[in-house]
């Protein structure tokens, strides 16, 4: 279960939820999306995605349904639930506030501004 040590706990969940914002995706598509938007820098082992997806399903933030993939294979599709949307909005906002604050702090150059 080795993960990129830089991946702060809870970040993967947030990324998964974000990836599902536009349409239901299967697990592979989610991994591709994350790889693309983060330049492959965050998700080291793709397998860790699945326990995370199922944890989110258990919490009721995503829903799993069987469907057909682009090349007509059976695949499990995940979609955001109503609760998942709300959760994503709240978490994204607090993430932004957090990173802002950290960035501000790191940008300080004099001992006491």
């Amino acid at each position: 279960m080795a993960q990129n040590p830089n991946l702060v706990r809870g970040t993967l969940d947030l990324l998964i939820l974000k990836s599902l914002t536009w349409e239901p995706l299967h697990g592979y598509a989610v991994s591709e999306w994350i790889e693309k938007v983060t330049d492959g820098s965050l998700l080291m082992e793709e397998g860790t995605l699945y326990p995370a997806l199922h944890r989110l399903a258990e919490k009721g933030l995503v829903e799993a349904e069987w469907g057909l993939s682009e090349n007509n294979r059976r695949a499990k599709y995940y979609s955001l639930t109503h609760a998942g949307k709300g959760y994503l909005e709240r978490e994204a906002a607090s993430w932004a506030a957090y990173t802002n604050a950290v960035a501000k702090a790191l940008a300080v150059e004099s001992p006491i501004p």
């Binding site: 279960m1 299967h26 592979y28 397998g47 326990p51 199922h54 349904e65 469907g67 695949a75």
Partner: protein
């Protein structure tokens, strides 16, 4: 239907397969929620998901130029630890699925109940009929059961009631005039021998009825009902103790012991205003001063034979209890721990045989009989009650069948709905549980209403029950009865619910849907419903036969010639306190003026007195011998029902004199001893010519010869059912006793005489109480009370059963006609006459009924033996009853099928054929 797509079921997997092959549009597809499955399917799912990921990734690498094996290896490397991911995901899914299954079960039940409630509410007529049927049947069953339970199943309200036994003398070998020869009373010496020698009986008490008159300052004299008993009745035998004061002590029960009395709680409240100071006070009972030593607790329920008001001691020992032939005691005992009734009986029979040898005159052909007290008390009531319980069970069964048939009929019309649900993937189990929920809901609503009815019904039954029914105060609708009702409800619900549900679950969706909702699936369920109707008719017929036999028997009882004319006669018991009325002169001095003054009241035609009324039951017998006939073997003198009467009695009771004369006022203590005999005695002992002959009553050693001066008709002295036996009448003036029953014949309403007679009695002596004031007709009615109770209840049940069966038949016939509308239309179109169509339907209905009747008649022949003991003058296989009941059933069936038959002829062929 809108709710159906939400249903998850095993069938959903099939739906996925279909959509997988049909769905073309990528990504925008109808998605199905995850189906349930076992653990195996979870593994498959997880495998599939992981494999999909790795293969998609490998495909991408391949597209980027890697070789297939390199691509796969790289994809697997990127994925990480496959096994650990799979394991973790499987664990999570299993956990989640279990939770879902649990909540789904709860959800299913909720949905089923909600759906069933909607179904019930949206078919109000159907539901009302079903619920009413169930409620009536459960109500009636529960009410009857509560009486059976109270009278027969509950233990007696005493300590270890199974140890209590009743001891009697067995006179079945003897020719005596007794109501029940197996239950004859005991003499004191026989009782004392039993008490002293039967080791398996720990304690035993003999008792005899005691009816003292309570007189007090300023209040009306009251007739009390109690007993005198030998020591041990309360503390040792019944295990009860007074709430106030003390119980009886051995020194209270000795010859010439103290006059002490224990009062019942009821009497204490009624007559003494619940004054706690009554203990140790003196009260006057029949003018004898008694010291009150105790008051029993309010929850003491004395057995019926102990009376209800007051109890005192017998005060006998071996010196003063009368001879061995003088039988006037009954006895109740408590067996030793672990002793059985059989053991007691065996010991008692041995003792009886020995006593017969020792006392060949008094004890010849007699022995002891021992019965458990509870059996002894309920023996009269038990057959009737069990029969009623069985009958009401039949009604319940018929009601179940009716509701089952209703559900089957509706199941058939709902078959297209069910078929759609099966096609949509509803599992068989879900359909069955849905339908069972519906029938259980019907059963429980019906059961709840039924329990309400049972409360009322039990009350009515207890009030209706014949006066002599023992232990009625134990009858109550309580938790025990509610438990019974609940059980019956559950059984009922499953009885009428299971068959229709299973039937419906076997629905073949394709077939049902092809018939276009024209309610197919009819043929199979029609066969089942026909079978049910046949069974129903059969059950109803058995009940009708039973009721018919009882009705005919009751008619016979009412037609019995009683030998006297009860109409317009008022009767009452007048008891004189023996202390003040201690000789013939004083007694005659009271009854003479009483007779004269009552006779002078307006509307009174005649007045007479006798020491026991007809039908009132056994009241002692006597032996006699005819002058000049060979003397009978000592101890085996013929027995006779001996009465004393005043001259006016025969006229007042309408007892017809066949020969000779009645008594006159000159037949007094000074005159020649005279006697009047009945026809039976004249026929059997005087060759039909008794006038002028002489006979002696009792004491064969010192005969007092009495001349027969008259012969009267036989009367039913032991009740309507019993044969008339030997009877004799002595002039009261030649053998005056302390109490007599008055018979007053009036041209008006007998009840109007009650107050004037009371006034006369209290003017003559304010210390004398009247009791048992009632018209003679009422006494006749009472003597048939048990028969009336059983007959009317069984009759009622049988009518309800027939009604239910006929309704069931009507339902099936009219349903079948509506199913065969098309056939009828075709027949009519082809020119079939209306009469022919009608006959077709009738013939078909009657075939069902005939099968039911056949079944019922066979059942009835087998079962009517159970009520043989209740019948009078009707054989259990009475052909008249069987034939008329079958006829009644056929008639009712024809009426019930006529309506659908006529409807069948009204079918418009064009309409029917067009609707196809």
């Amino acid at each position: 239907m809108g709710r159906l797509h939400q249903r998850r079921g095993q069938g959903a997997g099939r739906g996925v397969a279909n959509s997988v092959s049909n769905e073309k549009e990528p990504r925008r597809r109808r998605l199905f929620r995850l189906p349930f499955g076992g653990a195996g399917r979870i593994q498959d799912e997880v495998d599939e998901e992981i494999r999909f990921h790795i293969e998609e990734r490998a495909a991408r690498y391949e597209a980027e130029g890697m070789s297939p094996s390199e691509a796969l290896a790289e994809a697997e490397r990127r994925f990480g630890d496959v096994d650990s991911v799979r394991h973790e995901v499987e664990k999570m899914m299993t956990r989640r699925r279990r939770a879902m299954q649990r909540s789904d079960l709860v959800g299913d039940v909720k949905r089923d109940v909600a759906f069933a409630t909607r179904q019930i509410l949206s078919h109000p007529v159907f539901s009302a009929v079903a619920i009413a049927t169930i409620a009536l049947a459960i109500g009636a069953t529960t009410a009857i059961f509560s009486v059976v339970d109270g009278v027969m199943l509950r233990p007696l309200p005493y300590d270890e009631p199974d140890e209590l036994v009743m001891v009697w003398m067995d006179y079945t070998e003897r020719d005596v005039v007794l109501a029940d020869k197996a239950r004859e009373w005991l003499s004191w010496p026989n009782f004392a021998d039993f008490r002293d020698e039967i080791s398996s009986v720990e304690s035993i008490s003999a008792f005899t009825g005691w009816r003292p008159t309570l007189t007090g300052d300023g209040t009306d004299a009251q007739q009390l009902f109690g007993t005198q008993f030998s020591h041990g009745m309360f503390a040792e035998v019944l295990g009860v103790a007074p709430a106030m004061g003390r119980g009886f002590l051995p020194e209270d029960d000795v010859p010439d012991g103290p006059a002490v009395v224990i009062l019942s709680d009821g009497l204490w409240r009624r007559a003494f205003g619940a004054d706690p100071g009554v203990v140790n006070q003196t009260v006057l009972l029949s003018d004898i001063p008694y010291t009150v030593i105790g008051v029993m607790p309010p929850d003491f329920q004395p057995p019926p034979f102990l009376g209800t008001d007051a109890w005192t001691t017998l005060q006998f020992d071996r010196t003063n209890g009368g001879g061995r032939g003088s039988i006037f005691l009954r006895a109740v005992g408590r067996m030793q721990d672990g002793a059985s009734v059989e053991l007691v009986r065996a010991q008692a029979r041995d003792l009886g045989a020995r006593l017969e040898q020792e006392y060949p005159v008094d004890n010849v052909d007699t022995n002891f009989n021992v019965y458990p007290l509870h059996d002894d008390l309920v023996t009269q009531a038990s057959t009737a009650l069990w029969v009623l319980l069985g009958a009401v069970g039949f009604v319940l069964l018929i009601a179940c069948v009716n509701v089952a048939n209703l559900l089957l009929a509706r199941g058939a019309t709902r078959s297209s709905e069910l078929a759609v649900r099966v096609a949509m993937g509803a599992g068989r189990r879900r359909i069955v549980s849905q339908l069972l929920t519906e029938s259980s809901l019907l059963a429980f609503v019906g059961g709840a209403v039924g329990i309400g009815l049972a409360y009322l019904g039990t009350d009515v039954l207890v009030r209706m029950a014949p006066a002599g029914t023992p232990l009625l105060d134990q009858v109550a609708v309580d938790a025990r009865i509610l438990g019974f009702a609940l059980l019956v409800t559950a059984i009922t619900g499953s009885l009428f619910g299971v068959i229709p549900a299973l039937k419906a679950a076997r629905t073949d969706p394709a077939g049902a849907l092809r018939e276009g909702g024209r309610s197919g699936a009819a043929s199979g369920s029609a066969g089942l419903r026909n079978t049910l109707v046949v069974g129903q008719v059969g059950l109803a017929l058995v009940l009708l036969v039973g009721a018919g036999l009882l009705v005919r028997s009751f008619q016979n009882l009412q037609r019995v010639d009683l030998g006297f004319e009860p109409e317009g006669v008022l009767t009452m018991r007048v008891a004189l306190p023996g202390v003040r009325y201690d000789d013939a002169e004083t007694r005659l001095g009271f009854f003479g003026p009483l007779e004269e003054r009552v006779g002078a009241l307006p509307t009174v035609e005649s007045v007479g007195f006798v020491d026991a009324l007809p039908l009132a039951g056994f009241d002692g017998d006597a032996s006699f011998m005819v002058e000049g006939a060979p003397p009978p073997q000592p101890g085996l003198e013929p027995a006779v029902w001996l009465r004393r009467s005043t001259p006016g009695y025969f006229e007042a009771m309408g007892l017809q004199l066949l020969a000779g004369r009645g008594f006159t006022s000159s037949d007094d203590g000074e005159a020649t001893r005279v006697i009047i005999v009945n026809e039976t005695l004249q026929r059997d002992y005087f060759d039909g010519q008794a006038l002028g002959k002489r006979l002696n009553v009792n004491s064969p050693e010192n005969p007092v010869w009495r001349e027969v001066v008259g012969v009267v008709r036989d009367i039913k002295n032991f009740g309507v059912r019993a044969d008339s036996r030997n009877a004799m009448y002595l002039p009261y003036a030649q053998a005056p006793s302390t109490f007599l029953f008055a018979a007053v014949r009036t041209t008006g309403d007998p009840n109007n005489l009650v107050n004037p007679i009371r006034t006369i009695v209290s003017e003559l002596d304010p210390g004398i109480a009247l009791s048992g004031v009632q018209p003679m007709e009422e006494l006749v009615t009472l003597s048939l009370a048990t028969d009336r109770f059983t007959t009317s209840l069984l009759g009622g049940f049988a009518m309800v059963a027939m009604l239910l069966a006929i309704v069931g038949l009507y339902g099936v016939v009219s349903y079948t006609v509506s199913m065969r509308m098309r056939e009828m239309g075709v027949r009519i179109a082809l020119g079939a006459p209306q009469a022919g169509i009608r006959m077709l339907v009738l013939r078909w209905a009657l075939a069902l009924v005939a099968a039911g009747i056949g079944l019922g008649l066979v059942g009835a022949v087998g079962l009517t033996g159970l009520i043989e003991g209740l019948l009078f003058g009707v054989p259990t296989t009475d052909p008249v009853t069987f034939a008329s009941v079958a006829g009644l059933m056929v008639g009712a069936a024809v009426l019930a099928s006529l309506i659908p038959a006529i409807r069948a002829t009204r079918v418009d062929p064009i309409e029917v054929l067009k609707s196809e």
